[in-house]
Symmetry: C2
């Protein structure tokens, strides 16, 4: 589909994430460390998938990755999905359910925090925030009916500040 950012690379017109080479390197270094610590294999394929996500200006769809990685050598969708599954289980990336896209995790996740994804309908960027209030309220809401949550998807769709400022 082409969910990658159409935003002008290099231009600093608005707030954005992990497309600076520097930020990408940081993310990759972090991923390496996490895998070392957890005894997980950061294989070449998984690394390539993660690198693409880290280098992207915004979240990518699985088939964006298939296409981008396929420029060098043909990669099948299933391989990409397997890498994405690994990265998600390792906590290195997130999936945006509203868009069927994936993005590298921007920060450490505390146990008592819920991650909130702010998905801009205009520019496609996704911001990731953590909130312990929401974590507490969600836990309370679930407890009301005896529900034991295992995973959470909290996603807001709307317009980000920079898009709003440029109308």
């Amino acid at each position: 589909m082409g969910k990658g950012q159409a935003a002008p690379e290099g231009a600093h017109a608005h707030h954005h994430h992990h497309h600076e080479p520097h930020e990408a390197e940081q993310l990759i270094a972090h991923a390496e460390q996490v895998c070392r610590e957890k005894g997980l294999q950061f294989t070449p394929l998984r690394r390539r998938v993660f690198e693409r996500l880290a280098a992207s200006a915004g979240p990518l769809g699985a088939y964006d990755l298939v296409e981008q990685l396929g420029r060098e050598r043909r990669i099948s969708p299933i391989s990409v999905y397997r890498a994405l599954e690994f990265l998600m289980e390792a906590g290195l990336i997130h999936r945006i359910a509203l868009r069927n896209t994936y993005l590298p995790c921007a920060h450490e996740h505390g146990a008592g925090e819920t991650t909130v994804f702010l998905v801009c309908s205009t520019c496609g960027n996704v911001d990731e925030l953590a909130s312990s209030e929401i974590a507490r309220d969600l836990a309370g809401t679930a407890a009301q009916v005896g529900f034991r949550p295992v995973s959470r998807a909290v996603e807001l769709e709307g317009e980000c500040q920079s898009c709003r400022e440029s109308e």
Copy 2:
């Protein structure tokens, strides 16, 4: 795929929603009223789609509806999707992003409330709760970074009480 509940119909083994004929009728009556009030057309197709959702023990996928409605007369996916889109815009049904399924709305939605969906991984049922605390927290979180939310998806995946009690 068959996302409809495999749960035993008729047996009241666990907490469930809108599969009693009575509840289904209530939902349909409510939908009729909403459409009348808003000047929307509750056409036969839209009604059939809604009826199926109202009669189901759990959320249904679009192709579940295609199959169920197709028993009488072939209905194309696009028609079902159009009906679903209408029903969502009318606020009569919700879509569960984590599962790509649809379910009738169980209650009125206040302006200052956020709906939380509790999706049981075991039985597939979805419970719908409203929380003004979460609405407030989400608004606050979004405001921190100047984000203006338009729609929200707050979905917890886990185990519901009845499934937990029967281990």
